[in-house]
């Protein structure tokens, strides 16, 4: 079980690094917002794997909060872009 958790965590960390490259490269603000949203999604997955690995179910609550904040941030960014934020970042 712990070996599978290790491998999954390694894969997700690799995914975080790859998404971070897109976050730095851009080239536009919506691209970065999409990258940030995927990062939050990967964080939810990592928290779930950590809950299984440490056998403590309280971490599921943390995953709920993480998913909620990611959704609110994405909606906020979209509203900000539509209501005339800066067109270039």
């Amino acid at each position: 079980m712990s070996l599978a958790a290790y491998i999954t965590l390694i894969m997700m960390s690799l995914a975080l690094v790859v998404v971070f490259i897109r976050l730095v490269k851009g080239p536009t603000l919506p691209d970065r917002v999409v990258a940030l949203e995927l990062m939050a999604s990967i964080m939810v997955g990592m928290i779930g794997v950590h809950a299984i690995y440490t056998n403590s179910s309280s971490f599921i609550d943390v995953a709920i909060v993480m998913a909620l904040t990611a959704f609110l941030a994405a909606i906020g960014f979209a509203r900000f872009l539509e209501r005339g934020g800066p067109r270039h970042d």
């Binding site: 079980m1 599978a4 894969m11 995927l38 990967i42 779930g48 179910s57 872009l81 539509e82 067109r87």
Partner: protein, 147 residues
């Protein structure tokens, strides 16, 4: 048996997360990147939560995991729609290999108005009279922005 199923769910979740990350890095423009990240990323999170529900097998945890899965299923398409819409209105360029852009012929980015081409004469007249009302979305200010 259940242990193997949990391992399989976790590993496939990691695989899908990695796939989403590769898609977001390698695909050419905003809608294709969103196509990779929204679907594969949401599936990865859902698989992890299913693995957690199978692992703990307490009613409280299973309910929480199902709540997370439902929440992701509801919010992922909404967030993707909002960002994609904002990206199109802001003027993010599409990939030059894109085959279809159905909004391009009927949407005017300067006035933020949509015309279907099936309007009657008086509807078009109404449309022209309302053109000086300030649109809620401002057009692009600089022609040579650093996209």
């Amino acid at each position: 048996m259940t242990e193997w199923l949990i391992m399989l769910l976790m590993l496939s979740s990691g695989f899908f997360m990695l796939l989403a990350a590769l898609g977001i890095l390698r695909l050419p423009d905003l809608p294709t990147r969103m196509h990779a990240s929204t679907k594969a990323g949401a599936l990865g999170a859902i698989l992890v939560m299913a693995a957690a529900a199978l692992f703990f097998t307490e009613a409280v945890v299973v309910t929480k995991a199902i709540a997370v899965i439902l929440f992701i299923l509801i919010t992922a398409p909404i967030a993707a729609h909002a960002i994609g819409r904002a990206g199109y209105f802001v003027g993010v360029p599409l990939w030059e290999g894109s085959v279809k852009d159905e909004l391009k012929s009927s949407y005017d980015p300067e006035t933020h108005r949509l015309v279907s081409g099936l309007e009657t004469a008086e509807e078009l007249d109404q449309y022209r009279r309302n053109l000086d009302i300030k649109p809620r979305i401002k057009p692009k200010r600089r022609k040579n922005s650093s996209f």
